[in-house]
């Protein structure tokens, strides 16, 4: 059975950025259908579909919605997570730039289902183009009666705003995002209480990723059974955007059924660039453990298969590394990132990420000591599970896999007191005058 693109079907059709153009291509049928259903039925349908969060954690979306208490006399909010700061991830930007109405429709259905009358899309401040396109699309949706006092004439009221962040990875963590939305430093909160009960402005709040919400109109329109017919099994359903970068011939966003084997994804990207061999790949962004290419070439790219392999699907940011890649140099760069982005609240993460970066740079420069590998492993142990949010554990992901899978490379750096790999030069004669 051929797979037809679902989430990216409007890419290449700029007219779909307007309500009229989007409707012409079949849009807003899901919202129209949802508005005729009971909110609880909408939640049930999304639950039945098996849709899991596409932002990283993979939490079942319908279940999350069902946690919002319906008996409280408080406003409810939807905050759409468009912070997309996981290194290697660029799929949400594509969804916002090319099909903003699809996201608005998904958000509107979610708001109707949980009884929220306000939606904020928290977008990272760097995405200026996506922000401008979204704002234009929102104005158009208000003018067309899709947003505002009576969504598509149903009497359901929905206000919809973009909210730009200012450059902080931690604001992609859901409670860090809420703090930032409220105008504060984006330092994650203690959970519980969970945002579904006490979220934005002290009120029940659903937080979903852009891609998660973009799936919703299709689930409502075509039904949970259709959605479940795509994918590996009951726990891994639906279409998935894979953001492939690094050493492949054609990096890009690829929409495929969730669970596609890595080999097939790599082939779609034209294979490893410059005719080189595959060394390793990261299946789910900077937080995921690195997998050696030879062992996992046929790995199904879904939540559970990748977890079984000791890594994670995360945001499905696939970074490919060829045979010339120094793993110490690569992981050192990721540790630099986590050190920079640690919010500083929890000591194990704040200090641990700093030491990781220092140690890895030392090894890469040829100044490593014999005990550094075990010291790195020790730091991983002390960060894991010892901080409020997942950033600390995320920082551990790549470092732990380096120590466990590529210990020979660390040893070689130390033994030879230098990096055994050539410097990263990509352009022939680059930087030459």
């Amino acid at each position: 059975m051929a797979f037809e693109p679902v989430l990216t079907r409007n890419v290449g059709h700029p007219e779909a950025r307007t309500v009229a153009g989007y409707k012409q291509r079949g849009g807003y049928a899901g919202l129209a259908k949802a508005l005729k259903m009971e909110p609880g039925e909408v939640i049930d349908e999304v639950k039945k579909s098996g849709l899991r969060g596409r932002g990283g954690a993979g939490f079942p979306a319908g279940l999350k919605w069902s946690f919002v208490p319906q008996d409280l006399d408080k406003p409810k909010y939807l905050v759409c997570n468009a912070d997309e700061s996981e290194p290697g991830t660029f799929k949400d930007r594509l969804l916002m730039e090319h099909d903003p109405q699809q996201l608005i429709e998904g958000c509107a259905i979610c708001c109707y289902a949980v009884g929220a009358n306000t939606c904020y899309v928290y977008i990272r401040g760097e995405y200026t183009a996506a922000l401008a396109i979204m704002e234009q699309a929102i104005r158009d949706a208000y003018d067309a009666g899709v947003l505002g006092d009576s969504v598509m004439g149903s009497g359901f009221k929905l206000d919809f705003y973009m909210h730009a962040g200012a450059g902080a990875y931690i604001c992609g963590e859901e409670t860090g995002m809420l703090e930032s939305l409220e105008g504060k430093r984006g330092q994650p909160r203690v959970k519980p209480p969970f945002p579904a009960v006490i979220g934005a402005f002290g009120c029940p709040t659903v937080i979903n990723n852009v891609e998660t919400l973009a799936n919703v109109p299709h689930i409502v329109e075509r039904g949970a059974d259709w959605f479940k017919s795509i994918g590996t099994d009951e726990r891994n359903t639906g279409p998935k955007l894979y953001a492939v970068s690094g050493h492949v011939e054609r990096p890009g966003t690829y929409e495929m059924p969730i669970g596609v084997p890595f080999r097939q994804l790599l082939d779609a990207c034209g294979g490893v660039w410059r005719g080189r061999e595959l060394k390793a790949f990261i299946p789910g962004g900077a937080s995921a453990a690195i997998l050696p290419g030879d062992r996992y070439i046929d790995l199904p790219m879904d939540f559970d298969s990748i977890a079984k392999a000791g890594s994670m699907l995360g945001s499905a940011a696939v970074m490919v590394m060829d045979e010339t890649t120094c793993m110490v140099r690569s992981v050192a760069r990721l540790s630099k990132f986590f050190n920079h982005e640690s919010c500083g609240q929890c000591t194990p993460c704040r200090e641990g990420t700093n030491w990781m970066e220092l140690l890895l740079n030392r090894i890469e420069k040829g100044q490593g000591r014999e005990q550094d590998a075990s010291l790195l492993a020790n730091i991983c142990t002390h960060i894991s599970g010892n901080s409020l949010c997942a950033l600390g554990d995320a920082a551990v992901g790549p470092v732990k896999s380096l120590v466990e899978t590529y210990s020979d490379e660390i040893e070689q750096h130390v033994r030879e007191a230098r990096c055994p790999f050539p410097p990263t030069r990509v352009f022939a004669g680059a930087a030459a005058h």
Binding site: L94, L181, F201, L241, Y254, R333, E341, C343
Partner: protein, 190 residues
């Protein structure tokens, strides 16, 4: 078996959005002589405040507006003025400013260049982009050229990994860079 999919956006996803960027307001060259929060700015902040149940939620969007007005950075007096306007403690606002990478507390060039150097870009030549910028501009990272024209800095992932290496000049993404293209882009900046 499922069919393979072609890239959703061959050739990079930045290209089709350029036209919209033209709608963005220009960056002023110098801090204004007039009050930081003039009537027009106050009006814009007021509109933002109405979007939220708590006025403080408008702080980060308001900081973006004020920073733009001050030529791309936030002098202390601007932070104080905004704090006063939103009835917040200046130290509190200062704490927010220092938390976020897009807010600057030192003068920046008229053109601000941010080079993504995270892993996907590192694998495809971001170090060479940084070297070319150093050569062309003759200043180090985070320094401003003598004529106030440019400053550059390395940045964490900018979400354009499929078009690596890339950099952001003011509000615009420049993708699939080569050393030659970086040189041309820098020369085009006035």
């Amino acid at each position: 078996m499922q069919d393979e999919r072609k890239p959703a956006a061959p050739g990079g996803i930045g290209a089709p959005t350029g036209a919209v960027l033209g709608a963005l307001e220009p960056w002023p060259a110098t801090p204004p002589d007039e009050p930081v929060i003039d009537a027009a700015t106050a009006h814009r902040i007021g509109e933002l405040v109405e979007r939220y149940p708590q006025s403080r939620a408008a702080l980060i969007p308001a900081l973006h507006i004020v920073q733009r007005r001050c030529g791309g950075w936030l002098p202390d007096y601007a932070i104080a003025a905004l704090a006063d306007h939103l009835e917040l403690d200046p130290a509190d606002v200062y704490g927010v400013v220092t938390f976020y990478d897009l807010f600057h507390q030192k003068p920046v060039g008229r053109h601000r260049i941010r080079v993504c150097t995270n892993l996907s870009c590192q694998l495809r030549g971001s170090a060479e982009v940084m070297e070319v910028l150093h050569e062309e501009l003759g200043v180090g990272e985070d320094e401003v050229t003598g004529d106030g024209r440019c400053s550059y800095t390395h940045f964490e992932c900018l979400g354009s990994c499929d078009t690596a290496p890339m950099m952001m000049v003011n509000d615009t993404y420049h993708e699939n860079l080569t050393p030659q293209r970086v040189r041309e882009l820098v020369k085009e900046l006035e």
